[in-house]
Amino acid sequence: MADESVEKGEETAGADAPKAGETEPESAVSTADPGVGPAEKTESGEAGATPEAAETGPAGGDAIPARVIQPDVRFVRDVINAGGSDLKKCYQCATCSVACNITPDDTPFPRKEMQWAQWGLKEKLTGSPDIWLCHQCNDCTAQCPRDAKPGTVMQAIAKMTIANYSISSIAKAVGSAKTFVLMALLPVIIIMAAIGIQGHFSNVPRGGNGAIVYSEFMNVYRAIDPIFTIFFVIAAVLLILGGRRYWNDMLRNHVSEGGAAPEKGFFGNLWPTVTEFLAHKRFRKCDETRDRANSHLLVFYAFVGLLLTTAWAGLYMDVIHRESPFPMYDPIKILANISAAAGIIGITMVLIYKFTHAGKIGRGSYYDWWLIGTIYVLLLTGIGSELLREANTAVFAYPVYSLHLMTVLFLFIYAPFSKMAHMVYRMVALVFARATGRDLGVE
């Protein structure tokens, strides 16, 4: 009967949280079928609809067919290990959905996600726009009566979404502090090799009047362009493919729940979503972490500015053949410096905020700090390179510049596997929500 599946779920939901790791008895694993690939899982996606269907059972009466829920126990354990260690404390009171100011009224989160995660309904979660409509305000966590930290669980699921739509073994390695050195080795080796091949370890070239010229040190055409273009393209391709798969999974879940396919697809809804995003209105609806609207905005625009700068520099050098370094009064330089300053201010605000407003929300996971740390090092070494070049202290300038290149490359290589990928998945989710009218009125 329908009631049975509800009871089964509540057993998981109601029980006091076992320690992370020791979730269900191993025997339950056999109920999940690890051999079934995502494409064949439509059936279990349907089964995923059961909780809602079954929930109406006791109140609504007969007519609801019994369905079997196949919990993916490994997924439950993964969510717990990915930071959702308090997941099982949740007793489904739905305080979180009310606390959330950016959730759509018709399909509120994160209460249902907490249940799906407890039940191991992986397809429903990874293919849900709500995972990324969540902006990590953590109002839910602040108000949770059980300290189940729904915000952290949502983030853990989001992290697993990134793994799911990229290459999960790499994503896991990127998400673990233990493999940091190994991960960092790749960009270090590439940049060192590039310096070595050019013979610039011992014989550092100088500009006309003995000035430091980074484009002599790392040749733009023979070193910078090929290396960074290759990894940029790889990252972009992986992110686009991941975003596409995410879109298709969302669409499949949406249609299987009886929703109509959107009239205008991704590109038809992209522009209004981007313009909405530029103002960061959703971040401003957060109560607990309202300051994040400004810090994230600064970092976001810093990245946009630096991206423009890079493109602009390419234009100068490749098209009109103006050689770097460009003078300080050049608009490109002004934009670059403003962007770097905005980035530093923004990321420092993030840092201060993490420490002063930890409270129940905590200071974030390694996953967060990976990105914060990378951005920090990237911006500091970037500004440092510029200042050290102006000061003409070659002994510091070149190592710092090399470190800067390594960090940029590090971010490029791992963007599809790390929190950096949130830019793609959140955007895709926001566009999808707009296309399907999911969260009308929220923005």
């Binding site: 109140a59 609504g60 739905a94 018709d106 399909t107 509120p108």
Partner: protein, 422 residues
Amino acid sequence: MSDKVLVIGGGISGITAAVEAAEAGMESVIVERNPSLGGRVAQLYKYFPKLCPPYCGLEINYRRIRQNPKISYYTLSEVESVSGSEGNFTAAVKINPRYVNEKCTNCSDCAAACPVERSNDYNYGMNSTKAIYLPHDLAFPMSYVLDKNACNNGCQACADACQYGAIDLNMEAKSVEVDAASIVVATGWDPYDAAKIENLNFASIPNVITNVMMERLAAPNGPTKGKIKRPSDGKEVKNIAFAQCAGSRDENNLAYCSAICCMASLKQATYLRDTDPESKAEIFYIDLRAPGKYEDFLRRLQEDENVTLTKGKVAKIEEDAATGDPVVTVEDVLGGGKIEKQFDLVVLAAGMEPAAKSGNLSLNISFEEHGFVDGDRLDAGITVCGVARRPDDVTTSVQDATGAALKSKQVAARAIQTAGGK
């Protein structure tokens, strides 16, 4: 050798323990903090299992007290210290002045003459009494009492008005020593301070009240004479909401379940439904706990089409500025979607907090994590019963108190045996 039992707390549990012990042949002494016995039960409109008014249960107990010379009681009193051990306790009891002696006939002339008012704690502050007042019409002892903190300096209007010489404004606190073989802790509970539940705005929205206030609103001897009218404008309530687990099972407030709030809300829904067939009630819950035979009561309400049970916790209450109506926000877990609903009145099903906490009870006893007396770690000769031990309903507390009386009897028997053996 004394076989006396000292009962701390004169609510339904303490009264029961004292009466049962006395009827088993012991002497018992009740020490009650308030001016009247009866405790929280006296503040209910109706109570389980029979949904009778508390008059029946309390009146019977008062008669048992009056008729039994082995029972004595002190009101307005506190146990200041306890020494000795099982079989041989000595308690210092401070009796605060009532300022009214036994000559009082309850004629009310004093209150008529009294120029000042005080907030009426019996009605949870929803109305006021004069500074000299009868605690309530179920008071025991049936006698006026003066709240001297509320008096104007030097005023003696009441004493002047009293023709029986029953008012003594110079009465002072007294101390007595009570020897007892055993002690029963029956200190009961206080309603949880709903103002601490930040998202429910109890403090700022007048038409958001607590469940204990709802008992008073429905009671014929309450501030509205039993008409369920809302505080802001006295409008008769037609559409009421109950927010279950308000601050309960909540790490930010009371981490435990108070056990009685589900049945209390179901009961309170009938207060409105039984008097007004047009009225509507909606109960928002996480889980409904209707243990044992109470299931029938739940079913009765489920069958009432004007009573809606909605799964989802009220996590936000705002006020509609134009009407003063509270607006609740809930995720309707079964129906789907986040909903906002407007009501005439919202009742917070808030929980019970133990009244005795470490520090305000002059006994060396252990408390468990939520502040209730830890019955398993008490010194020999001391027993706890009722809500002082754990949140429970009246029926269970009474049973618990009867058990405590038996425990005391055993202590006394042991003490007499030991003394005889020497």
